[in-house]
Each structure stands twice: as structure tokens, then as C-alpha cells.
């Protein structure tokens, strides 16, 4: 293939990694193209750390971190963001919880004041807790009104028997309903510590000054106990699992999940290339076959993301017209069997590598995107993953693709979920469609 345009290390160029004496990892990167600074804090806690009966705690905690601290009273965090013309938000995954602020470069340091304070003094006012519980339940219900949200929730619960990746990140409704201030508070104190966090600052600032301020604000926060090590590991799957979700939709949907390895595993690169060969862009294999030639689906995707523990490779599709889910499934299986047996062409491999490379560059334009890349990889693995990333992608061979396709995307390692009509499509819907 033609060579890479730039090395992936450009993403970590000029990144300075500092570890405070209390264990807080600080990543700073000066970017002076826009007068903007994004700061993010990443806690190494997510739904993977939750016990049975207490799912959704990491996500609920994320909401509470905006509800006030000893120093910043209720509403003040958002109000300060407003007054300073910034943006803030947060997100929770299986493996981490992350918070960010973006501000113009002349007033961004308020973000550090807030993050330092809420690392230790989240308020947990009982009244606020109960009001926010209702909000979290509404968020959970919004997900259940989405066909993909519902199907993937059931699929993951079936694919994993033991590992907490089986639980929805927002939690199961029953668990969220009986969450208490006490359990949330205990969870916060167990996981929110400098030695369980990474602070990332990217943008238009002076590193020396910023590091001094970070040390002043965060340096005196005592380290916490080492968080419990996650000991659960998923036993190998020994045969196909299947499930059907009945729902009000008249459009059948298919989701297949294959057990796949963790970020640290050498097979991740070949699996990422395989996902692109299968379904990224109109020239991809499954798109050409199923959307263009067979015309059985309107949508097809293949996704494999990095995660701390072994996770899932997903293929999803939406049926078109009267085509059956079985027909769709059979085409996918056939294509995977072909790749496992005869591999992919040199051109397909080359195209996929270029797509990954370009995506890596094109999606890192904003300071927030850069902060997300740095924080996520530091939290899941370590920054050297980025340095070698494109090189490792470039080294993937057609034989590697066949190998991972055969090894992971096989019948005995898959969970197949179908979302089918429950026959409830109402008269009003019929009428609406005919309008």
C-alpha cells in the first residue's frame, strides 16, 4: 500500500505527561490555532465497577457532580459556564466517567477550580438527589423508546453472563429507582480520587503556568485507597445464543454481537480494519452486497471499539420492505465465511487503512476531540497506544483479517438479536403513514 501521510504520534506530539505526588496524571497539550481551552477530567470508574443490584451508579454520580458542592452551590457550575460563555458536559461509559469544560482562552481556569472542588466535596443534598433520580429515570426511558437502544440492551445482557458489560450504562430501572444517597456517596468516595483520575488540558495556554495552577489546586488533595480490582472475567462462549425482542415497530432489525478482545490485545488492529472493510462507506463489502445488489437492507454497520476488558464486535442492520431477517443474517454469515476462508483483496485492505488514517486525522480538529482522544486512551491503556496506532494498522495483513474473522466472527461466538413486530402498530400509525 502507499505509505501513511503522517505518523500517528502527531496526536501525542508536544503532549506533556506529569504525575502529581498524589497520583493525579496530568496531560497538557498547547494548541494555539484557536483561542480556546478544553479541560477534561477522566475517572477510571464506569459501569464495569458496579455490583449486581446497584447498576447505573457511575452514571447517576455523573449527574450529581453538576448538582453542587460545598463551594459551588446548586446551579452555580452551570451558571459559571454560562457567564463565561463556555460549554460543559459529561459522559459515562463501561470503563470511565469523563467531564469537560470548553472556554475561551482568557477565562478557562474556572474549570480547574470546579474540577478540583468536586473531586472532594460533591454535596449530595437529599432533595436534589431525589429530583435528579427522576431525570435519570426519564433518560433511561428515552433509551427504551428507541428500537436500537432496546435491542442492544437485550443483546449485551445475553452476550455477557458474568461481566458487568452486560448491564446498561444508565442501569436497570429497578436499580436506579432504589438508589440511595448513602450508596452513591460511598461509591463517590471509593472512586473519586486523584490517583484514580487523569486531567487533560488542550488548547491556547502556557504549560508552565497551568501546571503550577494545577499543582496548587489538586496537589493537596490526598490520594485515596487503590480502587478494587475488577476480578470478574467472562467465561468463553460455547455456542450461539439467540434472542427476540417484540416491539411496536413494523421494521425488523438485526444485531449480532461477537465476543472480541480488549484494547491491549494485538488482534484489535485487524478487527478495526475488518470493521471498515465490512461496512464503512459505499464501497464496503456488506454495503455493496446488501444495500446495492440484494437490496435487502436500508442500513448496515460494523463496529469495534476499544475497551478495557474483552468486549463485543457488533454488526447491525435494518430490513427493507418485505425482506426477512433470516435472509439478511444469511448474507452476513456468508460474507464473513468468505473473508475467513479467502481473505480480502489488496485493494480492500489498502482502502480500509487509508480510511482509518484519514478518520484519525479528520476527527481531531477541535480541542475537545483531542482531549477526548488523549484522556480515553490514557484511561484505557496508555498514550503509547496512540503513538504506534497507525503503524500497527498499517502492518495488518490480509491473512490477519482472515484469522480474526475466523477466530472471533464465528457461529459459536455470536449472540444474535432480532427486533420483530409485536403486532401492536396502531390504527393511528397506519393513518399517519397513508397521509
Amino acid at each position: 500500500m502507499s505509505s501513511l501521510v503522517i505518523p500517528s504520534a502527531f496526536a501525542t506530539e508536544d503532549v506533556r505527561r506529569t504525575v502529581l505526588s498524589n497520583g493525579l496524571v496530568v496531560l497538557t497539550k498547547e494548541v494555539h490555532t484557536s483561542p480556546i481551552v478544553t479541560s477534561m477530567i477522566w475517572y477510571r470508574v464506569g459501569s464495569r465497577n458496579e455490583e449486581m443490584g446497584h447498576t447505573g451508579k457511575s452514571h447517576f454520580l455523573e449527574h450529581m457532580l453538576f448538582k453542587g458542592t460545598e463551594r459551588f452551590k446548586k446551579g452555580e457550575i452551570d451558571l459559571l459556564t454560562l457567564k463565561n460563555g463556555g460549554g460543559n458536559n459529561a459522559f459515562t461509559s463501561h470503563d470511565f466517567t469523563a467531564y469537560y469544560f470548553s472556554f475561551a482562552a482568557d477565562r478557562w481556569e474556572v474549570a480547574l477550580d470546579i474540577e478540583a472542588d468536586r473531586m472532594v466535596s460533591c454535596a449530595f443534598e437529599p432533595e436534589e438527589f431525589e429530583a435528579e433520580k427522576k431525570v435519570v429515570i426519564e433518560e433511561l426511558k428515552t433509551g427504551l423508546d428507541s428500537p436500537w437502544g432496546l435491542l442492544l440492551q437485550e443483546l449485551e445482557a445475553a452476550a455477557f453472563k458474568i461481566h458487568p458489560y452486560r448491564n446498561p450504562i444508565v442501569g436497570w430501572l429497578q436499580d436506579v429507582e432504589r438508589a440511595t444517597v448513602e450508596t452513591q456517596q460511598a461509591y463517590y468516595h471509593r472512586y473519586y480520587h486523584p490517583n484514580n483520575a487523569t486531567l487533560v488540558v488542550v488548547g491556547d495556554f502556557d504549560t508552565a503556568e497551568v501546571l503550577k495552577k494545577i499543582d496548587r489546586l489538586f496537589g493537596s488533595i490526598p490520594s485515596g485507597p487503590e480502587p478494587n480490582r475488577m476480578v470478574l472475567s467472562e467465561p468463553p462462549q460455547r455456542g450461539e445464543r439467540r434472542l427476540v425482542v417484540r416491539w411496536r415497530s413494523k421494521v425488523p432489525r438485526l444485531a449480532i454481537a461477537y465476543h472480541a478482545p480488549e484494547i491491549a490485545h494485538q488482534d484489535t488492529y485487524a478487527l478495526q480494519v475488518l470493521a471498515v472493510v465490512l461496512a464503512e462507506g459505499k464501497a464496503s463489502r456488506l454495503y455493496q452486497r446488501m444495500v446495492e445488489r440484494e437490496q435487502t437492507v436500508t442500513f448496515i454497520s460494523a463496529e469495534f471499539g476499544e475497551s478495557k476488558d474483552p468486549s463485543l464486535f457488533h454488526i447491525r442492520s435494518e430490513a427493507r420492505g418485505d425482506h426477512s431477517i433470516d435472509e439478511i443474517e444469511s448474507s452476513i454469515n456468508d460474507e464473513l465465511a468468505t473473508i475467513a476462508k479467502t481473505g480480502v483483496t489488496a485493494h480492500e485492505l489498502d482502502r480500509a487503512k487509508h480510511q482509518i488514517e484519514a478518520h484519525f486525522i479528520l476527527s481531531r480538529e477541535r480541542t475537545l476531540d483531542q482531549a477526548i482522544l488523549l484522556g480515553q486512551i490514557e484511561t484505557l491503556y496508555g498514550l503509547d497506544y496512540i503513538d504506534s496506532y497507525l503503524q500497527r494498522i498499517n502492518e495488518v495483513t490480509a491473512a490477519d483479517i482472515s484469522h480474526v474473522c475466523a477466530r472471533y466472527l464465528n457461529e459459536n461466538n455470536r449472540t444474535v438479536g432480532q427486533l420483530l413486530s409485536d403486532g401492536s402498530a396502531s390504527a393511528e400509525e397506519e393513518e399517519l403513514e397513508a397521509d
Binding site: 429515570i137 462507506g281 464496503s284 436500508t298 486525522i361 477541535r366 401492536s424
Partner: protein, 436 residues
């Protein structure tokens, strides 16, 4: 680059170039990363679709890259994807857009492909048939989402006979009627260089790129464009209500009415009003603060009148997704906040905070090349001027408390509104028994 004032940024160095055939080209050099964003905007869209063939413009936009006189659909996809680039074509009520995102070394290829699919699309019958079926399937799939169903019904009631009453991709029966000759005719009427803006932002030198633009687009022949005319939409003078039954966890509620066009002189005062009423950072605005933060009624609730302002009047929309038992509380909550901002002046502090937010966060709209390319199109369509980035803070700073009251009274209505509710609710507005 350093901010000269809180959040104020320097204007871009925009190079404007007009080809002899009338194609307007806007270029901004942005060497921060080795990529280029190429966007061609054709000034036509679903607002001009005949009612009987609603969906025509969007179908044209989606078929542009499915085969040209010189390349098949697969050849186009393979050519751009092989260099890691992407081509997207889509449309709205006002515009048809074709975008190529490429690494800087591939800018010529991006231009060549864009020119090919804009100038010489073939709309092969096979792809027309496929696209019609796909659109029908997508319409059916979208009906699974209560918020989409609510949005469509809301537009029908607010716009009545105006073209914006319909979904931009049309209805199943109008899509079914569209033929290949319709697509070719549409293309020949609107796809002429004097009706196109090409904006290019990224890591290139203007002097190097202009000859390439001339090479690929110079032979395109201009001709006059005749735009269909239609009546302006009418403001509603009575309440309109619709309840649509759908088994779901939540009720999706839209409340609002006709809004303003982007060129309204009151746009900036209303943007400040939006920030106070239903937008802003986090949950600082009145509606999210009251309905989400205090009452815990929703994960999502917002309101805005400027968000949908375009060439045609947009809509004032207040939205909430909530559990069925909260219907009354949520609807009244939205109405109360609309009434309150009409009847009572906002506080000086609210005004100040909203102004600080809008001027301070303005800088985030110009971080990436695609964002800058979008701005160039907006500036051109609405006559904002390329010094808009410097003038905007002043537009916002000059808004007063009195002006917000004036525009609230002029444009918002807490009596004559459209209300659409979708979820476990009966047609008469009563909750369904056994709602999920």
C-alpha cells in the same frame, strides 16, 4: 491568535472569486491540520418541490453520487474512499449540499469528483428505483421514533398549506410518483454555476487551488434560474391540538407556533431571549431549570425560536419528553414560562448572563474547517458579511431588557399555539389505560 476581547475573534481572511460562468468561490486557508473541506451549495431545495412530488429535491441530492456520465456509483465511492476521503450529498428545504472531506494531498481528486457529480449526474433508473424504496423504508423506520412523529405532526399543523408543512423527504405517495425525468428536469433547472457556491477551507494555498477550480468547473455553462413562488405562511389565530397514540415509555410534547426568518431584524434580540428561556449552558435557562432541574420531569427539554429560522419563517418550539403521568404538569410548565417571558421583563442579570454566554461561546462555531465552511454559506445566503464574526458581539451586546419584552410580545403567543403530544395518550388527550 489571541482574543482581543472576551470571546471576540478576528475575521477570517476570506478570498472571494467569481468564475466567468457565475460560480462563486470562497476560500479560507486554515493550515492547522492537513485536511481540506470542500462544500458545494446549490441554492434550491425542498421548499420548491411541487406538493404532488414532495421529496424531489432530497432525492436529487441523494442520487448525485450514484453515477455520472463518466463514473459509476461504485467508482465514485471507491475513488474517494481509497484515499480515505468522504463525499456526502444531502439536501434541506433551502439547499442541496455536496461535501468532500479529504487530506490536503487529495484536494484535486475531491474537486474533480465534486464537479463530476454536480455537473454530470445520470440518475440511473436502477438507482432511482432503489432510492425510492429506501426512502419509503426510512420513512417507515422513522415512524418508530415518537419525537419524529411528533415533529412531523407539529409542522403539518403550524405551516398548513405552506411547503414547510411536509417532511423534506416527502410522503410515501409523493415519493412513489417521482420519475427519472423529474430528477433530470430538476437538475437542469437549478444545477447551473450561477446558482452554486463553492466554499473551500483547509490546508492549501489559494493561488494553487484557483486554477484547479477553473479546470474542473470552468466549462460548466450558466443559464438563468427561475424559482417557483409561493405564499408566506400565516400566523395562527387559534389553538391547534393533536394527540397521537403510540405505545411508548414517554410522551413527546411539542408546543409552539410560527417563528421568524433568519433575516428578521429581531433575530439577535430573540437569540438572547432563547438563551434565557430555553437554551444556554447546562440547565441555566428557565425551562430546563424549572422542568428538569427543579421538578425532575424530563431528561430533555428546551425551547427556541431562532434555531429553525431560515429563508422561510422557522418555528417557535418548546419541547419536553416526559413520563405520561406528567403530561399536565409538563405542558402547563412550558406554557407558564412562555407567558412569563411575555408578561414580565427579564432581569438585568439574566440579560447580562445571556449576552456573556452568546458572545463568549461564539468562538466555538469556528474551530474546524467544516464549521468555517458552513459559516461561509450562511454569510452568503443571509448577507451577513464576512466581518460578521467581529460584529456579532456588538449585535448581542446592544439588546436591552425592553427589547426582549417587545420581541416576546411580538413573536411569542401563550394562547394561540399548536400542541402535539405523541405517546400513550388517546386522541381525546386522555392517557391510555395500561400505558407502559
Amino acid at each position: 491568535m489571541k482574543p482581543t476581547d472576551l470571546g471576540v475573534r478576528r475575521a477570517f481572511d476570506v478570498h472571494t472569486h467569481l468564475l466567468p460562468n457565475g460560480l462563486k468561490v470562497l476560500l479560507v486557508e486554515n493550515p492547522s491540520i492537513p485536511t481540506v473541506s470542500l462544500t458545494a451549495s446549490v441554492f434550491t431545495g425542498a421548499r420548491y418541490d411541487p406538493e404532488a412530488k414532495a421529496g424531489l429535491a432530497i432525492m436529487v441530492s441523494r442520487l448525485l453520487d450514484e453515477g455520472t456520465a463518466t463514473r459509476t456509483s461504485l467508482e465514485i465511492a471507491d475513488a474517494i474512499e481509497s484515499v480515505g476521503g468522504a463525499i456526502e450529498t444531502d439536501g434541506s428545504f433551502e439547499r442541496i449540499i455536496a461535501t468532500a472531506s479529504v487530506l490536503n494531498k487529495d484536494v484535486d481528486l475531491g474537486l474533480e469528483l465534486l464537479a463530476d457529480l454536480l455537473i454530470r449526474p445520470m440518475f440511473p433508473q436502477e438507482f432511482v428505483d432503489k432510492e425510492k424504496e429506501r426512502t419509503l423504508a426510512e420513512i417507515q423506520s422513522a415512524q418508530d421514533r415518537p419525537q419524529v412523529v411528533a415533529g412531523w405532526a407539529f409542522n403539518e399543523l403550524v405551516y398548513q398549506d405552506h411547503p414547510l408543512h411536509r417532511p423534506s423527504h416527502g410522503y410515501p405517495e409523493t415519493v412513489a410518483r417521482i420519475t427519472r425525468p423529474d430528477l433530470l428536469d430538476f437538475h437542469s433547472r437549478f444545477f447551473v454555476p450561477n446558482n452554486v457556491l463553492l466554499s473551500m477551507v483547509g490546508d492549501f494555498r489559494v493561488a494553487d487551488l484557483l486554477p484547479e477550480v477553473q479546470k474542473f468547473f470552468g466549462g460548466w455553462v450558466s443559464k438563468p434560474v427561475v424559482f417557483p413562488q409561493y405564499e408566506s405562511p400565516l400566523k395562527q389565530t387559534a389553538k391547534r391540538t393533536k394527540f397521537i397514540t403510540m405505545p411508548a415509555q414517554q410522551l413527546n410534547i411539542y408546543l409552539g407556533h410560527l417563528g421568524i426568518s433568519r433575516t428578521s431584524p429581531d433575530y439577535y434580540a430573540l437569540q438572547v431571549l432563547d438563551t434565557i428561556l430555553g437554551g444556554g449552558a447546562g440547565f441555566t435557562a428557565r425551562i430546563p431549570q424549572r422542568l428538569r432541574d427543579e421538578l425532575g420531569l424530563a431528561y430533555t427539554t428546551f425551547a427556541s425560536i431562532t434555531m429553525t429560522a431560515g429563508m422561510d419563517p422557522g418555528r417557535f418550539i418548546a419541547f419536553i419528553g416526559t413520563s405520561p403521568e406528567n403530561m399536565k404538569l409538563a405542558t402547563e410548565g412550558l406554557i407558564n414560562e412562555v407567558r412569563r417571558i411575555i408578561e414580565e421583563p427579564v432581569t438585568a442579570q439574566e440579560l447580562q448572563d445571556a449576552q456573556d454566554y452568546l458572545t463568549g461561546s461564539f468562538v466555538f462555531a469556528f474551530e474546524s474547517s467544516p464549521q468555517i465552511a458552513r459559516f461561509l454559506i450562511h454569510a452568503e445566503v443571509y448577507g451577513l458579511g464576512f466581518d460578521y464574526v467581529e460584529k456579532y458581539p456588538e449585535y448581542i451586546r446592544s439588546v436591552t431588557v425592553e427589547e426582549i419584552s417587545r420581541v416576546a410580545r411580538k413573536y411569542l403567543d401563550s394562547e394561540n399555539y399548536t400542541l402535539v403530544v405523541v405517546g400513550p395518550v388517546a386522541e381525546d388527550g386522555n392517557l391510555m389505560n395500561g400505558a407502559e
